[in-house]
Symmetry: C2
Subunit: 203 residues, 2 copies
Amino acid sequence: MTAVIINRMTASARDRMILSAAVLMRQQGVEATSFSDVIEHSGAPRGSIYHHFPNGKAQLIEAATRYAGEFTAAGLIAALRTDKPADAVDAFAAQWTSMLEQSNFDAGCPVVAAALEGERTPGARAAAGDAFGRWQHLVARALEPHTTRWRARTLATLVIASIEGAVIMARAQRSTVPLEEVANELRRILRGDLPPQPASQPQ
Amino acid sequence: MTAVIINRMTASARDRMILSAAVLMRQQGVEATSFSDVIEHSGAPRGSIYHHFPNGKAQLIEAATRYAGEFTAAGLIAALRTDKPADAVDAFAAQWTSMLEQSNFDAGCPVVAAALEGERTPGARAAAGDAFGRWQHLVARALEPHTTRWRARTLATLVIASIEGAVIMARAQRSTVPLEEVANELRRILRGDLPPQPASQPQ
DNA sequence: GTCTATACGAAGATAGAC
DNA sequence: GTCTATCTTCGTATAGAC
């Protein structure tokens, strides 16, 4: 079974392939990531691809997308361990900033890469949609103590959308500035704009 | 020369290829868009590809990215013809909503597709960065009468990043809800959160 | 589970005729 | 400017041995 976080040293060949696929997807996109690339990057044996992924590339990409979704969710959960939403969103943005800098702006978000695929890989696109939904839910739940349930949801979508968008802009412009600017605005919104609310809302 | 908006009926073969490349990029991404696809979609003659684009696919993709950047900028300029920023951003988001619905969530943003490409197509990535910068500048300039120059810039980045991010989420989830939620939040911010400012700021 | 070999198609790019 | 033909490389996928 795929672990929540794959350890490159101890993982099975299958999990190493999933991890490598996610890494390569975020750098090159889905279409440009070939089996040969994954084999080389993961060190997994050639002959075991169709043993572990009988449905071929589509299955590997979908698994990598689901893994990347869980990986990012784990980072989000870690960031949300503050009860101040503004700090949590800052920490989440900082994770992306660090990744961009460490990769010299070569790595983006693998889930976004999967979301952009055409009709050739519907499974990966659906997996991307699920991942986004999960992240939205995590942020919304963290915001619910501070505002209405409805507003928590729309704010959560703003947080996810703007950070993902900023990561793309940062990559294209080879600068962390877009991410910093978005984080600034989000911090301001989450710090100042949430009216105190009673704990439970009428539905 | 490439027109600001290419007319499919009257355009030259070269411009039709650029337009088709942009259309296909937003559906399938860069890597999955082949010359054969572009030829078929544009109706341009096979033999003229390397006549018009001596540097091959990289050159075509870069041209398509620049064209898409200008096309979207034109839509943004049209939306900004209100002096109420909240209405302008709403209109811009509505353009994307309409495009997603008309394409049955098959079409995203070609500039984003170019931005996600790896090191194989550095020209397209740079063109994407330029396009984002241009959009940021357009929005920022429209916001400057209403707030400080610095805040106008960060808000502009939030607007572009969140709408682009929401388009991706909408595609993956096959729903316009993310875009509506983001537009709601942006409207609230731009309507209520901008303190009245004097026209010019000390630097 | 993993190997090699290979089938099969499609990609980008080039050459040379018209 | 546009055509056809072709080169070369690389992709996914399969077959069958070990």
